[in-house]
């Protein structure tokens, strides 16, 4: 008995440790978070907070699969675009291994939306002119005139032909403001156009496209070598072209190599801005070029990635676009919470109705489960960026039922054992052993469902599966570390051990017949009773039998069995 109590106390101690640990981790996150994002409340998803959520699905050529690498690159590109539009706190994530979800607080303007949706396009264009960026506002010019440059073409014949530089284009170029770059508008491939470097420090007048991004076969980071083939210690990007690439690249390098700066350069254009101008030092005939020039490994990697993925024809289609006003979000949150409160009250009322005093154990266990869930969700929100959505809240509310189900499975098991005529203490232990197995396997099934839903699903389903999974796990923790230990301790009180009618464990109400202190005669059971009492005897360790004390429970029962049959 004393042993049982210490074991119960130890389990409760573990629970306290768990609580303190989770609390401490959260405290740490709140205290030491540099961005000040962490808090003691979970972050809310857009459907509760208000905002806009775009789900973008990649369009891949010929039904090919999108790789995670491509997706990550796409996320990086979109993040650049969103950041460039001045929207803060946008969250861009991949989902289900194929979609990109852009969540923006508030309501983005049309230009931002356009920018997000535009597909990345990479191309090489010869540089006709370049200069440092104009100071903002220096020479204001109606911005409409610039893209119109291609309308009056006394056109050059080749992409690098200086004949493209008409006086109009020259004027537009001279006046060009980098703020006017519109990355959503694709310049016509057969016309020159004016743009700036991605960082906005230089402006360029570029000729028509000479190499399409689609012709880039590969780009790899390699150690740079000098003309003798010795490593220089720097880094280079090895570019490999296929398709029409080698021929057009040969043509452009043949034409511009040796020309004066900046006309000996071609520009790597991504999303209508110049990633970098590259000086052509040699005629490349086989489509394999090495780009060098002051790279460190990281910048070489970045360029290589951009060349590789920027070249891929991934476009995005907007699969869904949802705007939730802050008021609607708030009322959804309130509705979800209200549903939770009502559900909780109903479950508690039913538990008290069915299990009387044991209902109090249900209430306490649910409170512990709720506390743990709150801490875990907050913790994940602080560290993993988890955001609670309406579907997530629904999952939490539904989990009240699942959690309470475990208690019922346990209580009913104890009642079964009491019906067999066992004393409460041993009924508790055998009931627990059996019930915990049932709870484990049925929770394992639920957990499996949640994990698979989470891994294989998109959108709302994830938030739901996530909370369902967490709460299933917490259910096991609570029933093992709280409900069972507390029952053990309660079983020592007279109220429960003597089976007070209001205890919910009254052997008389359960059909077991009172035989004397701590011993009950088994009710009439055909077949079943015999096995169970044998099993029970087997299960009881000698220590337990001794502990059960005053009445030889097993013997008493088989005796009574004999009388009845």
């Amino acid at each position: 008995m004393a042993k049982a109590r210490t074991r119960g106390a130890r389990a409760l101690l573990w629970l306290v440790v768990l609580f303190v640990a989770l609390g401490a981790v959260n405290w740490g996150a709140v205290q030491f978070d540099e961005d000040q994002n962490a808090s003691w409340t979970p972050q809310l998803a857009l459907d509760l907070e208000g905002g806009t959520q775009l789900v973008l699905a990649p369009q891949v050529a010929e039904g090919a699969q999108v790789t995670q690498e491509q997706l990550d690159q796409a996320v990086a590109i979109i993040r650049q675009r969103v950041d460039a539009s001045g929207v803060s706190e946008a969250e861009i994530t991949t989902q289900g291994g194929q979609n990109i979800v852009v969540a923006i607080p508030g309501e983005p303007d049309a230009a931002t939306m356009q920018r997000i949706q535009a597909s990345a396009k990479m191309e090489f264009r010869p540089v006709l002119q370049s200069a440092a960026a104009n100071a903002p506002g220096a020479t204001p010019e109606p911005s409409e005139s610039e893209p119109a440059a291609g309308e009056d073409p006394p056109a050059g014949t080749d992409a690098w032909d200086q004949a493209w530089v008409t006086p109009e284009r020259q004027a537009a170029f001279d006046a060009f403001q980098c703020a006017d770059v519109d990355t959503t508008v694709q310049a016509p491939a057969d016309q020159p156009f004016i743009t700036c470097s991605t960082d906005g420090t230089a402006r360029f007048l570029l000729g028509p496209v000479s190499v399409e991004g689609a012709d880039i076969a590969d780009a790899q980071v390699t150690p740079a070598t000098n003309s003798q083939g010795q490593a220089t210690g720097g880094w280079a990007v090895a570019l490999e072209l296929d398709g029409d690439g080698p021929a057009s690249f040969e043509a452009v390098t043949r034409a511009i190599t040796g020309l004066p700066e900046p006309t000996n350069q071609f520009a790597v254009v991504l999303d209508s801005t110049v990633l970098m101008p590259i000086t052509s030092n040699a005629v490349i005939t086989d489509g394999n070029a090495s780009i060098t020039g002051g790279f460190d490994q990281a910048s070489a990697r970045s360029l290589a990635d951009q060349l590789r993925f920027g070249a891929l024809p991934i476009g995005f289609v907007v699969q869904s676009n949802e705007t939730i006003s802050a008021t609607l979000g708030e009322s959804q949150l309130q509705a979800g919470l209200l549903a939770g409160v009502i559900g909780l009250v109903l479950v508690i009322a039913y538990s008290v109705f069915q299990y009387r005093a044991l209902g109090v154990v249900v209430i306490a266990s649910l409170a512990v489960a709720a506390g743990l869930t709150y801490l875990v969700v907050t913790f994940l929100s602080n560290t993993e960026g988890y955001r609670l959505s309406l579907a997530g809240i629904a999952g939490l509310v539904i989990s009240i039922g699942i959690t309470a189900d475990s208690f019922i499975v346990y209580f009913e098991r104890i009642r079964d054992e009491l019906r067999e005529g066992k004393h409460l203490t041993s009924a508790l232990e055998t009931g627990w052993k059996r019930a915990f197995r049932t709870i484990l396997v049925s929770d394992a099934v639920s957990f499996l469902a949640a994990v698979i839903l989470f891994l294989l699903s998109v959108g709302n389903v994830r938030g739901f599966a996530f909370t369902l999974g967490i709460t299933t796990f917490i259910d096991i923790v609570v029933v093992a570390l709280f409900t069972h230990p507390v029952l053990r301790i309660l079983a020592r009180t007279r109220f429960f051990s003597e089976g007070h009618p209001l205890s919910g464990l009254d052997p008389k109400a359960l059909g077991a017949v009172y035989r004397g202190r701590a011993s009950f005669r088994a009710p009439v059971v055909e077949g079943k009773g015999k096995t169970s009492s044998r099993e029970a005897q087997r299960r009881q360790t000698i220590a337990e039998r001794k502990a059960a004390g005053d009445a030889p429970v097993g013997a008493g029962r088989s005796g009574s069995k004999g009388e009845e049959s």
Partner: protein, 323 residues
Amino acid sequence: MATLTTIGNELYTGERSVPVVQKRKLWFLIAGAVLVLLALGTVLRGGFVFGIEFTGGSEFRVSGVADTSDGPALDAVASVVPEADARATGLGPEALRVQTDEVTDEQAGEIRAALAEAYGVETGDVAFSFIGPSWGADVTTQALRALVVFLVLVSIVMAVYFRTWKMSLAALASLAFDMLVTAGIYGIVGFEVTPAAVIGFLTILGYSLYDTVVVFDKVRENTAPGSSGTFLGQINLAVNQTIVRSINTSIVAVLPIASILFIGAFLMGAGTLRDIALALFIGTIVGTWSSIFVAAPVYAALRKGDEIKAESALPKRERGAVV
């Protein structure tokens, strides 16, 4: 407490018994008839009603309105895009949902302004969403994949735990019954199938099996090697002994779902909460029925003629751990 407990006592001892196994042909007949009726009804009613997430289109939600009549909404939409096929539904006491064919972003902006004016609210209170036709299909494809993977894994888990594939098979049969009946009720009533409904639908998986596992665990215990009585008799006793438990767990499971459904349907109108809860509500109730009247009879049918093994069939340690 008294009545349910008394019934529980009588079911436990076998004094009172529901002929789950003996009358299994009757239960199969009922299950089959229900499925056929639902299938026929669904076909006659014209198949499933798919939400905007599956068909594609634009949706506006006006919140904080004083009057949820749909006339002004339809006029507002018509004033911007006359050919758009608009449908308006009230969402609770002070919100309204307007669904139209796909409109351009510009048109959407104008419709929002028009709706705001028609209902005397701020433009910010008119939420707009656009859903491409592939969205719902995408969710569903993923969901179906999840379903197949889940079924395979869970059959293995159950077969290993119960040490017999027959229980896996019976559990899957009752799971299939739950899903078909839930789908059938959606079809016959014409409830809108939305991604949220698909979520609820998938959650039935976990629930339905939870119930079945509880019943089967008792069956396994009662039919453990060395138990007396016939196999089918012990299955029947086990089911009867767990009926009260099944009822209690189901009621407790359904209560929060019902509260979400109530709040979702009456306060929020159509939306995530209602759709998740509706599918689950139906599924949980059907699941309780099927864990008793489908899973157990199917298992009994599979075990017909089998006998409970003698006690020595398993090592001693194994016996001690029987559950």
